[in-house]
């Protein structure tokens, strides 16, 4: 028998070698803060595997959470939680209630009076000045202070918190919750100078002279006007002005009928607050329900509280009887062609105009910057344009709404990113890329059918009939410890080992061994010497942590 027909073992099977690789889950990429959501959920849900009591786990999860977000109790209440839209669980049995768990952890940290974690390292002594004690400025101050820098915050109002304090009603964010989280940041020995308006009471040159690094977080304090006839005069005010006055206890005086103009979250807050002040509220929005920028929940709750919505409607003229507002002339709109952004323009329907009675008009049609005296660095009342990392000019950084309107979460993220970049620059280090360097989780690598069906826990809310009866009491309630831990256990830990043990249990070659001191993502060590290349472990791995190693074909 000849040997010429022998193949060179071409029939030997491909060896698929597994690699262990942590990946970035979709919740994290959807989060403006880029928070390690999976990280803190996993500490809660895996506490028994990590040898932690639930209390210890809550402490540790909180500590992980506040690395990037020193306002978990606050954002756990008001964040529109885009993270949940990314959750791999959505199609199975509903996204994890990330926001509710964040809120639980936030309240847990406050109740336990846990101190914010410092970053021990070199002695950083450069003086840092922060303008504006809103979420962006507080976030920057926190990140610099925990790195050891002496920080001074200049705030033009008497109390810190910015829009969180002045524009968000108590029924969504009780002031005590915010106070506690702000105080905890200030406790890092940050000095707060209230009642000083930078650029006015103190010159920019003076601030430059006092501090090596400046951060501009002035926000966008001025409300845009409606731009219609009859707007000037009593009876027409901006929603943020109304909300701020209300927070200071100066309420009422709206009259019986209130018209709110706008479709964002501020419009919802204003409309619902006006309901609490006893008014009949009509909300005008120029597009339709599905185009509303407000969070769906807020819209639902506003409807439930009796706010009347008028879609495809825009104010055309404020009707007055002498100085008094008596109504609004409303123009009906229709959706026309798409503009460059793909958003449909609104077009007035000729002749479709109606007068609607109103005693007060609240304008919630966006905000704009209002400052002066920053010279070339920040021309008066113009949006700031920073680099990606928040750098505005030499030794000057900026973030928050003064760079364009956004959420509190985005402001906190911008403050943190600017702090990281400023710190790296001061220390002469390369900016850290952190977890962003990890590849994103491939949706197909996550296997939802491995996980048990566990319906979304939801949040706890007070009965609806109490909402208006106790107008300032918070509607949402914080989850209990067990509830929060159960909800956290729904996290599928996309892209990070959670110790399901299948690779260990089913590897024929015994390639996986238990790690002595496990931590999330590190439960099993993999030794490839014994690997038989069948690839079973990769296919069994429910979270997509195990993957085929590149170039591993033999």
């Amino acid at each position: 028998m000849g040997t010429d027909s022998r193949p060179e073992s071409s029939a030997q099977p491909f060896r698929i070698r597994a690699g262990q690789r942590a990946k970035t889950p979709a919740c994290q990429t959807h989060c403006p803060i880029g928070g390690d959501i999976r990280g803190w959920l996993c500490i809660l849900s895996q506490h028994h595997k990590l040898g932690l009591s639930l209390e210890q786990a809550c402490d540790r999860a909180w500590e992980k959470l506040v690395q990037l977000n020193p306002f978990p109790a606050t954002l756990g209440r008001i964040c529109p939680h885009p993270c949940e839209r990314g959750c791999s669980r959505t199609a199975k049995d509903g996204a994890v209630c990330i926001n509710a768990v964040e809120r639980f952890l936030g309240d847990w940290g406050t109740a336990r009076q846990l101190p914010l974690p410092k970053i021990l390292g070199r002695n950083c002594t450069e003086s840092v000045g922060v303008i504006g004690a809103g979420p962006a400025g507080m976030s920057f101050a926190y990140q610099m202070s925990r790195r050891g820098y002496p920080v001074t915050i200049y705030e033009k109002t008497e109390l810190p918190g910015g829009m969180l304090r002045h524009a968000i009603p108590d029924y969504r964010l009780p002031r005590g919750v915010l106070d506690a989280e702000i105080q905890r940041i200030l406790d890092l020995q940050i000095s707060l100078v209230p009642g000083i308006e930078a650029g006015d009471d103190i010159s920019f040159a003076e601030l430059r002279a006092r501090h090596r690094v400046l951060f501009l977080g002035m926000g966008a304090q001025a409300a845009r006007q409606l731009g219609v006839a009859g707007e000037a005069g009593p009876g027409v005010l901006s929603a943020i002005e109304y909300l701020a006055r209300r927070k200071q206890g100066i309420g009422g005086g709206l009259g019986k009928r209130v018209m709110v103009v706008g479709g964002g979250n501020t419009a919802m807050d204003a409309a619902r607050s006006a309901r609490r002040d006893g008014a009949e509220v009509t909300l005008l929005y120029r597009r339709r329900l599905q185009e509303m920028p407000a969070v769906a929940n807020e819209v639902q709750d506003a409807l439930a509280e009796g706010v009347r919505f008028e879609f495809l409607a825009a104010p055309q003229r404020i009707l007055r009887d002498g100085p008094m507002v008596i109504g609004v002339e409303v123009q009906r709109m229709r959706l026309g062609e798409a503009d460059v952004d793909g958003r449909q323009r609104t077009v007035p329907i000729p002749g479709a105009v109606a007068a609607v009675g109103a005693d007060t008009v609240l304008a919630a049609v966006s905000q704009k910057p209002a400052w002066r005296g920053f010279g070339e660095v920040g021309p008066d009342s113009k949006w700031l344009h920073t680099k990606k990392d928040g750098k505005l000019a030499d030794d000057t950084w900026a973030g928050g709404d003064d760079c364009g309107p956004g959420t509190a979460a985005r402001a906190i993220a911008q403050g943190r990113l600017a702090a990281e970049a400023a710190h790296a620059e001061l220390r002469g280090e390369a900016p850290s890329r952190g977890q962003q360097a990890r590849p994103a989780v491939e949706p197909a690598s996550v296997r939802p059918d491995y996980y048990e069906v566990l319906p979304r826990g939801g949040t706890r809310r007070r009965p609806m009939e109490r909402w208006l009866a106790e107008p300032e009491v918070e509607i949402e309630q914080t989850l209990g410890r067990e509830q929060a831990s159960r909800e956290a256990a729904r996290c599928m830990s996309c892209g990070l080992c959670f110790g399901c043990q299948q690779c260990f249990m089913y590897c024929n070659a015994g390639g996986f061994t238990r790690v002595e001191e496990p931590e999330p993502g590190r439960y099993y060590a993999l030794a490839l010497e014994s690997c038989e290349g069948c690839g079973k472990c990769i296919e069994l791995c429910p979270c997509g942590y195990l993957e085929p190693r590149e170039g591993a074909v033999a």
Partner: protein, 474 residues
């Protein structure tokens, strides 16, 4: 004598026995079954059936973290996937009717390949066919098959019968007061009056149970090899036909090698003593193997694994409130693992329902079956040893080939060698049976005749295909 029917169905005065055992299942008793392979699913099915026959109300939890609907090794239970017709019929008498879409490929013959020639062994009279099945949902990256997973079907059956499927990985079993506690990877646990371990030997669960039963000796294992080639239906029909191709090659440590056609794929199954790369190389470069493939070229397999098999019974395969069934306890050497799963599952269920769940009950009523299988396996080892001696001798191979060919050609002569090989390949009969047949004077006489005839320097007239003499069409 161990036969496929094992222990009979409902025994005689069982109620008296039930009262005697100190530990028995009562109404509302909870039973955990670990693993939903054939042993676990059939155990659940039998247990619930038998319990119903004595009006006993049991809660059965069937633990299985994997999904047999997945393609590739994740959804597979790693075996060659051949079920003999006698087992198919046996299952039918139990009410387990394998639907047509569970059977991948109906096989009608074995083709024996040796260096000295090939010969086809037709189905014996009592067997109509062999069923080729997929334990999971087909090879890696395969297109959706028009057939169902065998294990998935049995699992579904157990579930329909009332077993609750629990999609969790069991990581430990331990005694807890007067019951057994099952612990899962997610930290959850449950307490049960009886635990049946059917986790097979391709999971490390058995390893974690060392301190469970005193002096427990887990089953001894060896490494096998299974892979899938994608060739396409048409090529397979031409090159393989409805036949399972068995190779008797002179390769050390290789006891059994077969190619089993299944739709678009051919499954290769190598059994022996720790199949490794060297052995694979020798196998893949054997001319007898290469010749089977179109244009003499073996493609790379799409899917492969090295499943472990049980080659020595666990001792003892039971304890108080604990019983190991299927491969976790004992199985038949190399062949008919599903048949053994069936027999152990049934015997264990019968013991638990009609006798009790104490260590004494299992020793008295379950162990005899395991012992029977075990001793038959020892005979099996002898048979395979003799077989490997024959594989090594060209002289013997010629004789075997000649004898089978002659038997297949004439319908009147007793098919002595054919039936021995058939039962050896298919696992249809106990090894003891097979061995005894080879000791009969007729067999021995006939073999001697064919050894001589097969080695004569000129053609004997038997219908033997010799390499080189046979043109294969493409």
């Amino acid at each position: 004598m161990a036969t496929a029917d094992g222990l009979g169905w409902l025994g005689k005065p069982v109620r008296a026995d039930r009262a005697r055992s100190a530990q028995r299942l009562r109404d509302g008793s909870r039973v955990a079954v670990i693993g939903a392979g054939p042993a676990g699913s059939m155990f659940s099915y039998f247990l619930l059936n038998m319990a119903e026959s004595v009006a006993l109300d049991l809660e059965v939890d069937l633990y299985e973290p994997r999904h047999f609907c997945h393609r590739g090794p994740a959804g597979c239970n790693h075996c060659g996937g051949v079920v003999s017709e006698s087992l198919v019929q046996r299952l039918a008498t139990e009410g387990i009717n394998l639907p047509d879409d569970v059977v991948q490929h109906s096989l009608e013959s074995y083709t024996l390949h040796m260096d000295v020639g090939d010969v086809e062994i037709a189905t014996p009279l009592h067997e109509s066919r062999i069923a080729g099945i997929y334990r999971g949902n087909g090879p890696r990256n395969s297109e959706p098959l028009d057939t169902r997973s065998f294990d998935g079907y049995l699992q579904h059956l157990a579930n329909e019968r009332g077993a609750r499927l629990i999609n969790r990985l069991v990581t430990n079993v331990r005694t807890q007061d007067d019951s057994m506690r099952i612990e899962c990877a997610d930290g959850s646990y449950g307490d049960y009056e009886l635990v049946a371990i059917a986790s097979g030997v391709n999971s490390r669960l058995l390893e974690s149970l060392n301190d469970l039963a005193e002096d427990h000796r887990p089953p001894a294992l060896t490494k096998t090899f299974i892979c899938e080639f994608r060739l396409g239906k048409e090529v397979i029909r031409q090159a393989f036909g409805p036949s399972m191709h068995v190779f008797l090659l002179d390769i050390p440590r290789l006891e059994f090698a077969a190619l089993i056609p299944k739709g678009d794929y051919v499954t290769l199954c190598l059994l022996g003593d720790d199949i490794d790369d060297r052995l694979l190389d020798r196998f893949f470069s054997s001319p007898e193997v290469i010749r089977r493939f179109p244009e003499g070229s073996i493609p790379r397999p799409v899917c492969h694994c090295y499943p472990r098999i049980n080659v020595r019974t666990a001792r003892p395969p039971y304890g108080d409130r604990l019983v190991m069934i299927g491969d976790s306890g004992t199985t038949r050497l190399f062949k008919d693992g599903i048949g053994a799963a069936y027999r152990t599952a049934k015997a264990a269920a019968k013991t638990a329902v009609f006798h009790g769940v104490s260590v004494e009950d299992f020793r008295e009523y379950y162990w005899p079956l395991c012992r029977k299988i075990d001793s038959d396996n020892r005979v099996g080892k002898l048979v395979f040893w003799v077989g490997s001696l024959m594989q090594r001798s060209r002289f013997a191979r010629r004789g075997v080939l000649h004898m089978v060919a002659a038997e297949q050609k004439q319908s009147q002569v007793p098919r002595r060698m054919s039936s021995v090989l058939w039962d050896l390949f298919s696992g249809s009969a106990p090894y003891t049976d097979v061995f005894q047949r080879t000791l009969q004077p007729g067999y021995v006489g006939s073999l001697i005749h064919h050894l001589v005839a097969g080695n004569l320097p000129f053609k004997s007239g038997a219908d033997v295909h010799r390499p080189g003499e046979r043109e294969r069409g493409h």
